[in-house]
């Protein structure tokens, strides 16, 4: 039986044997010995001479895609270009550390190069990607656009160092090696992907590529059942969104997915139409019974390889798709690459865009001296120290974080009104092209209902579905909102916090009842918000303005606005004033 580590090594072998063909690998693991071991293994298996380049974070475009070599150009007096990192990795692998922090722009360039096999300038750049994903939470992940294009997704977080010792068996010898026609293999993998709830069609296609690769590796001209099964194990299993049904006959029995939750699972659509697919099988030349057994073995192979714990998260979240993280770092306040020009400064063009006029202006006074120094050279002598680059200013993106008190007391009084107020503010956010996030707190803790997004329709849907009731863990809500706000600020945006509560905390940060302790915790949380200078506004949702809410607003350094007096325009004006 294959273990996660043996599968990981198998992936390394396949990637090393054909770095380009399978797109590459996403490795979710912290920096540590296990990941290093894996990378060492990969490096050891690469054919000598295969490029293996590492991409530093925040790499500028001319280094990534190729551009002009300034020093050489100035010295030679004619344009000298240098190849970009992507072209240098041609035929080999590009290792991307901290891939979960990739900006959408860089991810788009990498995806484009993966698709076309060249950089925009035209130089060939066929490479495989090794994305080192050090994300810890669910919302810190490699951009989907990239992950979808890579055949292998590895999760090494659960592997202990001890498990990496010992022999590595690459195949289960008990499996029968029988030839499998290509068309049947495609059908097997598509069916297995549907069974696992995988929507993207890239997944079965990448699995097909891996299957061909495996057959080639074993020196066979045609695919064998083993190849298909192993491809399903390696490519499909890590993408599983749910457990496959045990067998076709037991379809009526509820599969062991997402119990309780009625959340519409996009994969269900594929599920319901599956019987049609099996009905169509009569058309294929294959004998029905053998087909089913083979196809089922592919599903089983994938099922056996689904990492433990992968599905637990989905079950808990009701198979909710990961929150959209689009544009996460789309607008960096300190961006030097784009935006409106705002003056120039000395620097290397690699760190910004060359400001030519200012460069020439800086060089002009020295021309007579430099000419007197003699030596051959162009008539106008520019040195690296003359070079000026343009500074850019970019409007930061604002994220409005709504922290909504959905506790019993709020629900009784004005949860509906608070929701209405938030909806009005959402419409405001749409006009200002802000992003919004939604934190709800009730019962014993707080949860991020919606990570920062511009998809306001989604925000509205989640808000409408927000249940009310339970205690008021005000402190947890404020801490969760503060964490979110700091994440936004770290990513270069600006955050405005809108807290809707009646201020009557009765659940402590630890989730225990106790009004006094809960109040103290809430004030602590408020002090934290103030310390981080997070712009905030507190809307008192109680029927009559509450002293506790007013005190909380003071502790937060927030603007206080009682809902009874806050009609829509007053509220949006207040938020504009703060934001």
């Amino acid at each position: 039986m294959s273990t996660p580590w043996s599968r990981a090594l198998r992936v390394a072998d396949l990637t090393a044997a054909d770095p380009v063909g399978c797109g590459g690998v996403v490795i979710r693991a912290g920096a540590g010995p296990v990941r290093d071991l894996w990378l060492d293994h990969l490096r050891g298996r690469l054919r000598p001479g295969t490029p293996l380049r590492r991409m530093p974070a925040g790499i500028p475009d001319d280094r990534l895609l190729g551009g002009i070599d300034l020093a050489a150009t100035l010295a030679a007096g004619r344009p000298v270009t240098e190849a970009g990192l992507l072209s240098e990795a041609d035929g080999g692998l590009l290792v991307v550390p901290m891939a979960e922090r990739l900006t959408p722009g860089t991810a788009a360039r990498l995806a484009g190069a993966l698709d076309t096999g060249r950089v925009p300038g035209g130089a060939p750049a066929r490479f495989g990607l090794i994305l080192l994903d050090e994300g810890t939470g669910d919302d810190e992940r490699v951009p989907d656009a990239l992950a979808d294009r890579l055949a292998f997704h590895l999760d090494l977080t659960g592997i202990a160092l001890g498990e990496t010792r010992g022999a590595f068996d690459d195949r289960d010898p008990s499996e029968v090696d029988e030839a499998r026609p290509v068309d049947a293999a495609v059908a097997d993998l598509c069916r297995a992907a549907a069974g696992l709830g995988i929507l993207s069609l890239r997944a079965p296609l990448l699995a097909m590529r891996v299957a061909h690769r495996l057959a080639a590796e074993a020196g066979r001209a045609t695919l064998a059942g083993d190849d298909v099964r192993e491809a399903a194990r390696l490519v499909l299993a890590p993408r599983a969104m749910r457990m496959p049904p045990v067998a076709e006959e037991t379809r009526e029995a509820p599969p062991e997915t997402a119990p309780g939750e009625a959340a519409p699972d996009p994969a269900e659509a594929g599920d319901t139409s599956e019987p049609d697919g099996t009905a169509e099988d009569g058309d294929t030349p294959e004998a029905g019974g053998r087909m089913d057994a083979q196809a089922q073995s592919v599903v089983e192979a994938a099922r056996a390889a689904i990492p433990a714990g992968l599905l637990a998260g989905f079950a808990a979240a009701g198979a909710r798709t990961p929150p959209p993280r689009a544009g996460k770092a789309g607008a960096l306040l300190k961006s030097v690459r784009s935006g409106r020009p705002a003056g120039t400064r000395p620097g290397h063009p690699r760190a910004g865009r060359l400001a030519l006029i200012d460069t020439l202006r800086a060089a002009a006074p020295w021309q007579r001296l430099r000419a007197a120094e003699g030596g051959a050279g162009p008539a106008f002598r520019v040195r690296a120290s003359d070079v000026r680059i343009t500074r850019f200013r970019q409007r930061g993106e604002t994220t409005t974080i709504f922290a909504v008190d959905a506790s019993g007391s709020a629900a009784l009084e004005r949860l509906a009104e608070a929701k209405g107020a938030v909806e009005l503010l959402l419409a405001e956010a749409y006009i200002r092209r802000d992003r919004v996030a939604l934190v709800a707190f009730r019962g014993t803790g707080a949860e991020i209902v919606l990570a920062p997004t511009r998809a306001l329709a989604r925000a509205r849907r989640d808000l409408a579905a927000l249940p009310g009731g339970g205690g008021t863990p005000l402190a947890s809500g404020l801490y969760a909102a503060a964490d979110l706000a700091r994440t936004v600020i770290r990513a270069g945006g600006a955050a405005t916090l809108v807290v809707l509560t009646d201020g009557r905390a009765n659940v402590t940060r630890a989730g225990m009842p106790g009004r006094a302790q809960a109040g103290a915790d809430a004030l602590d949380a408020a002090a934290l918000l103030r310390a981080h200078a997070i712009r905030s506004i507190l809307i008192d949702t109680a029927a009559r303005p509450q002293d506790s809410a007013r005190r909380l607003a003071e502790a937060m350094g927030a603007r206080y606005l009682p809902l009874p007096y806050a009609d829509a325009t007053a509220m949006s004006r207040a938020i504009r004033a703060v934001g």
């Binding site: 240098e82 925009p120 300038g121 590529r209 080639a216 030519l356 329709a457």
Partner: protein
């Protein structure tokens, strides 16, 4: 077809090409000298050493998207096509496939804007400055990718640094908009595009002229292109002004029925294992589409829109409360292009009814937070107004 772009064959490079498994390296360091114009100065040319493009006719399903792209190819003046939907549904495969099957266009040789030799010179700086007869050559219709995070310089063009630094010449280095002239500008994930790039695009897409005023440059050049955008609405909304620039909007979804999915993967797999053979198998189907397209383009100017159809279009837009006249105009143009493509004698209500969802669904005035299907509203209006 779902999978983006051209795909590298699965097999590793043949060993005899690189003896000893070693790739040929450039002899001297990383720097290479480039003689003559840089690669991106040339008019957009598709690299001819890559595998052939996945044939347009081999795309499985996605009828609405294919129809919208074909309509934009018949009559580029309809404005662009916006494709909203899941990842990996063959959006960029379709656009590249379409461009590959379009008949090559005549362009002025050496003109970075690929000007039409049939048009009077002087539209672009290159042709205005050229003396004597302009030589024409046939080039493939350009498809230019506008990547997210592209800088303003890359998009609109900028001072040519190389020439300025080394030869002291003030020259304009054309950007992506210049390369896309008379072709397609493809923006993947258009809803994630930076706002300041969107502003640039809005102006150029409306006027068809790119005006550059920066760094002492003052350049105007033609930039007429079919804007093709794709994105996932879950990841953010598009500004209404940008939505309005797209003539047609289609929604694509990953096919969910197993036979279609199998068919998609099967064809793609066959293509990857033998690109040339696969393309040859579909060459005749592609040629048929090309013939239909060419015939439709020829037929288009003569095709009149009867008053009854115009009136129905107006009533439809009125019923839906679309803003301005663009809805009607686009509806009429797209219905005419559809009729031309199908070889119809006249533009009738049936053409109108079939194209109305694509032409109008993104023009409805709606609450940004309201997600009740625009498509359903258009369908209802079509039923009521056209009484089909």
């Amino acid at each position: 077809m779902p999978i983006n772009g051209s795909i590298r064959p699965m097999a590793s490079p043949p060993p005899e090409a690189h003896p000893g498994g070693r790739k040929p390296r450039r002899p001297a360091g990383r720097s290479i000298e480039i003689a003559g114009p840089l690669a991106h100065d040339a008019p957009a040319e598709r690299p001819d050493d890559g595998p052939p493009t996945f044939p347009f006719s081999a795309i499985v399903g996605q009828d609405e998207m294919r129809r919208a792209l074909l309509i934009a190819a018949v009559d580029p003046s309809v404005g662009g096509v916006l494709v909203f939907g899941d990842r990996g549904t063959g959006k960029s495969t379709a656009i590249r496939g379409l461009a590959a099957l379009l008949p090559p266009m005549a362009a002025v040789a050496g003109c970075p804007y690929a000007c039409d030799p049939a048009e009077p010179p002087g539209r672009c700086p290159h042709c205005a400055g050229a003396s004597g007869a302009r030589k024409a050559h046939a080039i493939p219709v350009p498809v230019v990718d506008l990547p997210l995070g592209a800088t303003e310089d890359r998009v609109v063009g900028a001072l040519d640094l190389e020439r300025a630094l080394t030869r002291g010449e003030k020259a304009f280095e054309p950007g992506l908009l210049a390369r896309a002239n008379r072709g397609f500008l493809y923006i993947d994930e258009v809803n994630l595009l930076d706002d300041h790039i969107v502003d640039l695009l809005l102006d150029v897409a409306a006027s068809g002229v790119n005006t550059v005023e920066r760094e002492g440059l003052s350049v105007r050049h033609p930039a007429r292109f079919v804007l093709v955008g794709s994105g996932n609405p879950e990841e953010g909304e598009l500004r209404p002004q940008l939505l309005d620039r797209f003539g047609l909007a289609v929604e694509v979804t990953t096919p969910t029925d197993l036979p279609t999915r199998i068919d998609v993967v099967r064809r793609r797999d066959a293509y990857e294992r033998d690109p040339a053979g696969f393309c040859a198998a579909y060459a005749e189907a592609d040629r048929a589409i090309r013939r239909t397209l060419t015939a439709a383009r020829a037929r288009l100017p003569a095709l009149s829109v009867p008053d009854a159809t115009l009136e129905a279009a107006a009533r439809l837009c009125l019923a839906l409360g679309t803003d301005g006249l663009r809805g009607e105009l686009t509806l009429m143009r797209t219905a005419r292009a559809l009729a031309a493509y199908e070889g119809a004698e006249t533009v009738d209500l049936d053409h109108l009814a079939r194209i109305a969802p694509s032409a109008l669904r993104h023009r409805l005035r709606r609450n940004p937070l309201d997600e009740s299907g625009s498509t359903a509203r258009v369908a209802r209006a079509v039923e009521d107004v056209l009484a089909l």
